[in-house]
């Protein structure tokens, strides 16, 4: 039976580069599939592009490709990546320059565009698209003047075309994570765009592997202490067969593990209704998925079904949503908790005096209630407590307001209750971007593929 072997190279911008480097050396793969984008990433990259037309892609693509490309070209491994982010064309130009620098002339780099609809919003709204928020139902007008980007989660079609035209490297913008895998599956196994019975399993398998080390022992909750050599963790190496079945493995000799338990944890990660796992290419039904250990570090995936893709594509819009100001300080025994309360009260009186305005304030005690919150966890009111770390965070409309959280906390160091320490250096003010999820009819979105030779 025909098959294709896909390697997971990267799971997010800034991810560990070693698994990909080890994989191209030691595993037998046909494709290296690299996901560089998360929900927030597109807003950050759009901001970069607005300042410099040559930026707006994830910078880690350069060190990644510098490491893996010579081996990929030698072994005929093709790379599919969404590192293009908010500027796929600039990313492709940078990759072409890198190929020339590495002596890899002749490398064919394809760039897939068409996901960026920021400049088409008026046109699309005139055509009847509302872009109402799918979670809240609110109209786009409530954030329109604060939008920073608008990108469609596009499917595998552009990637398939790029591969058919002989691309060695395919650079995309906001395609879905699944499309990075479905593209090579469709190209190699000849699946048509409406072969739901195969695309469903393909998308389900892609979901299990697209977060890299989270399927191979990273974050494993079902026995974390037994997971070995995570510093040499292997990312998923997955063989997909023509009938849609797949075997997930990892780089030979690497750390971590591929077991029914490790894959199960990733299977349930970021899934809503498993019976309707929506992607741009197909709706997968994961309800009756089965996982079977078929060898050491080998798990077979079966039982996934497919249904037609939704008529609409999801759009990720980002909008400016204010700033976060933070301060962190520590109080020590004796009476650490009471001193912390006095410190917080002093900070709040100082903030009031400074005309501070915020939309929301959150106070957490690190090491005690920072993960699940003070609503669920009793206050640490023990006079013998050795130390308490306060994190004070506020969401503000302006950076000027957000900055006050830190500046007004500085006097706690020498003007407040005894036992204060650990006041850090001035933290950066974080600008917030809200995500506006909405839909667009798929027939209004057209991908374009351009091929450049290094």
């Amino acid at each position: 039976m025909k098959s294709v072997t896909l390697g997971t190279g990267l799971a997010f911008w800034g991810d560990n580069l070693r698994p990909a480097a080890d994989m191209v050396q030691r595993a037998e793969i046909d494709y290296l599939c690299c996901d560089h984008l998360a929900e927030l990433t597109m807003s950050i990259l759009s901001k970069q592009r607005s300042r410099d037309e040559q930026r707006g892609y994830t910078g880690d693509v350069v060190p990644l490709l510098r490491e893996v490309l010579p081996t990929c070209r030698e072994k005929g491994i093709r790379v599919v990546s969404n590192a293009g982010g908010a500027n796929p064309s600039a990313c492709a130009r940078r990759i072409v320059a890198l190929c020339q620098e590495l002596g890899l002339q002749g490398t064919k780099v394809a760039v897939v565009t068409g996901d960026d609809i920021m400049g088409r919003i008026d046109e699309l709204m005139a055509a009847g698209v509302e872009f109402a928020n799918i979670d809240t139902g609110e109209p786009l007008s409530s954030v329109r003047d604060r939008l920073t980007q608008a990108n469609v989660y596009t499917g595998a079609t552009g990637i398939v075309e790029a591969l058919e035209r002989g691309a060695d490297i395919v650079v995309c913008g906001r395609v879905t994570d699944m499309a990075l895998y479905l593209g090579p599956m469709r190209h190699e196994l000849g699946w048509s765009a409406d072969d739901w019975g195969r695309l469903g399993p393909g998308a389900g398998v892609a979901h299990c592997i697209e977060c890299g080390g989270q399927a191979t022992g990273g974050l494993f909750a079902g026995g974390w202490a037994e997971m070995e050599r995570l510093e040499e963790i292997g990312y998923p190496v997955t063989t997909v067969y023509d009938d849609g079945e797949a075997v997930i493995s990892k780089t030979p000799g690497s750390g971590g593990a591929v077991t029914v338990a490790t894959v199960s944890e990733q299977l349930v990660y970021e899934v809503l209704d498993p019976g309707n796992y929506l992607t741009a290419d197909v709706t997968a039904d994961l309800t009756d998925i089965r996982l079977e250990q078929v060898g050491p570090d080998q798990v077979r995936v079966t039982g996934i079904k497919g249904k037609p893709a939704p008529d609409t594509l999801k759009v990720n819009m980002g909008y400016r949503a204010g700033f976060v100001g933070e301060a962190q300080f520590t109080y020590t025994w004796p009476d650490a908790y009471k001193k912390a309360q006095a410190g917080i009260e002093l900070l709040e009186r100082r903030l009031a005096g400074a005309g501070f305005e915020s939309d929301e304030v959150r106070i957490e005690y690190l090491g005690h209630s920072s993960m699940w919150g003070r609503g669920l966890i009793p206050e640490p009111d023990d006079p013998e407590l050795l130390e308490i770390v306060v994190r004070y965070a506020a969401r503000c409309r302006t950076d000027e307001q957000a900055r006050k959280v830190y500046t007004e906390s500085v006097p706690l160091y020498n003007n407040g209750p005894a036992g204060a320490s650990g006041i850090g250096t001035r933290p950066a003010i974080k600008e917030l971007y809200g995500i506006w999820p909405c839909l667009v009819p798929r027939e209004l979105i057209h991908e374009q593929v351009d091929l450049v030779k290094a």
Binding site: E39, L40, S43, D135, Q214, L219, F220, A221, G222, G223, V260, A261, S264, E265, Q266, L267, V268, Y269, E270, V271, L272, D273, P274, G275, L286, T287, D288, I289, R290, L291, G303, G318, A321, V324, E360, V361, R362, E364, L366, S370, M371, W372, G373, G375, L376, R391, A393, A394, R395, L432, Y433, G434, I435, P437
Partner: protein
């Protein structure tokens, strides 16, 4: 009646989609899955998370892998990109659910 915590019967993982946090539980064995299906209802999960989850909780079953998936709405303080929480992506929400106490035997 024997009382255990879910952590004795299952492992899990959680993640974000906007302001939705999903928490997946995977039972270590078939009897454990049966107990989870009986005891860990959407309503009980909603109560266990208290003010951490502001919206509805839905439960989905994946019997072939002995998993339950809980979709918790309004669970991330406005969503991962806006949240003031240190755990803004809901990465450790599963651990709080593993602490829930349940009965292992059916009431007679």
């Amino acid at each position: 009646m024997a009382r255990v915590r879910i952590v004795d019967l299952a492992h899990g993982r959680s993640g974000d989609k906007g302001d939705v946090c999903n928490v997946g539980l995977i039972a270590y064995d078939a009897p454990g899955y049966e107990i989870l299906c009986r005891e860990v209802t959407a309503q009980r999960v909603r109560e266990h998370f208290g003010d951490l989850v502001k919206g509805e909780v839905s439960r989905y079953e994946m019997p072939g892998v002995r998993a339950l998936n809980f979709v918790c709405r309004g669970a991330l303080n406005g969503g991962g990109t806006l949240s003031l929480r240190s755990d803004h992506l809901g990465k450790v929400m599963y651990a709080w659910l593993l602490r829930m106490e349940i009965e292992t035997e059916q009431p007679s």
